[in-house]
Symmetry: C2
DNA sequence: GTCGCCAAGATTGTTGCCAATTATGGCGCC
DNA sequence: GGCGCCATAATTGGCAACAATCTTGGCGAC
């Protein structure tokens, strides 16, 4: 039987990937059936996601997938910038040939997707780039906080990559991070990562300020 | 009936305050009795604490309170420095007369306890100082991450305040943070907070490097 | 005396059930 | 035709019992 922690992970993936839409109700019995587990485990997983603010629970009314205002999204990304900046610094200090190879491959894939105009594919590789850096950093505390952070859900809700001109700039920012990492320059890597996520924050704020589009139409 | 979230809070307090010692086994039935709830919500609370890495769960063997190596403690504090630095910056931008008054009172109490040689009392007010700043910052994301962080457990396990000379320096560092906050200087507040927690990290590392004392004797 | 096996007790993991609460849909009333 | 009330269904919240697993302590063999 799946543990509550595993089920929480599956649910998180489902929320992040859009399988469960913002504001969608999550019915314990249905989830238990879908994930082949029992209600008790689902309940435990849901309280975990509640603590991580990925879902909202209302007494006797169950949980719904949370949706974020632009201001909240900016807060989340602001925090993520700090934590990933730390990860980038550590990664620059620890990266080896294998890690460098892996990262270069991801960036090459990003460049290719961007050139092909496949924005969602680009977004996928983008996420993988960040995950790889966190892995290389091997900072368990930062890693577990980042995993708990709703930043992936925000990524799904605010598709910054669809903004005109954003993919090209994003690619350049990732290349700057890669360069700093390969040069083993921790301070530069941290700066590049913060600046990159800072630009994402700015884009999210810009999306949020467009008055007539509600965020979850993205 | 208490919710899982509430119970998780109570258990966290118990761990942080030393009511539950590092490596102590936490028996679901006992906790349910002590906290006047049932096993199901205790289980939910424990999975939450497991995700926050405050306890370790081994299958079919229950959960134990986690204990931290100096290296892990340093990682946790390193993360806390970033998040509280962010909170300090925001607090400097938002602080009003009431907040200033509250913070000054806390620091006065710290000064008084330190002069009286009451180190544990000092440590209490110290914790309150940090909590107050986080409150003033009103940054929900950072606040919930900090709440999840095991930094309070670390504080209990590594009693840096008992190190010779540490209380006086600590007091000076807190006064520097207070000054920056009252001057509404966000950058200075962030710098002061990071530097302060950086010194705590250094102290923890020093404690960890003393070979013959295991950390949990503190 | 020590080692290993076995039984009993303790604890966790799972399941099902019932009560309380909320959502849904039909029905009559205006 | 629309609105509100009521019965019913769906869902959550809480509980207890059962099964599986681990731990403990005793007993006998060597």
């Amino acid at each position: 039987m799946r543990s509550a922690a595993e089920v929480a992970g599956l649910l998180r993936d489902g929320i992040v990937s859009g399988k469960y839409a913002p504001n969608e109700r999550l019915i314990e019995l249905d989830l238990a059936r879908d994930l082949q587990t029992n209600r008790a485990v689902v309940r435990g997983a849901l309280t975990q996601l509640e603590a991580q603010r990925l879902v909202i629970r209302e007494p006797n009314r169950g949980v719904r997938v949370r949706s974020y205002t632009a201001e909240e999204a900016a807060e989340i990304l602001e925090t993520r910038a700090l934590l990933e900046g730390l990860a980038a610094r550590r990664a620059a200090e620890r990266i080896d040939a294998a890690g460098e190879h892996a990262l270069r491959a991801v960036v090459a894939a990003m460049r290719e997707r961007q050139a092909a105009g496949d924005l969602l594919g680009y977004s996928e590789h983008n996420a993988r780039f960040h995950r790889t850096i966190i892995e290389i950093a091997a900072h368990r505390t930062a890693s577990s906080l980042l995993a708990a952070l709703a930043s992936q859900a925000v990524r799904y809700q605010f598709r910054t990559v669809l903004e005109p001109g954003r993919p090209a700039r994003s690619l350049a920012e990732h290349e700057a991070i890669l360069d700093a990492l390969c040069a083993h320059d921790g301070a530069a890597a941290e700066r590049a990562m913060r600046s990159h996520i800072g630009n994402v924050v700015a884009t999210v704020r810009a999306i949020g300020e467009r008055p007539h589009l509600t965020p979850d139409m993205a």
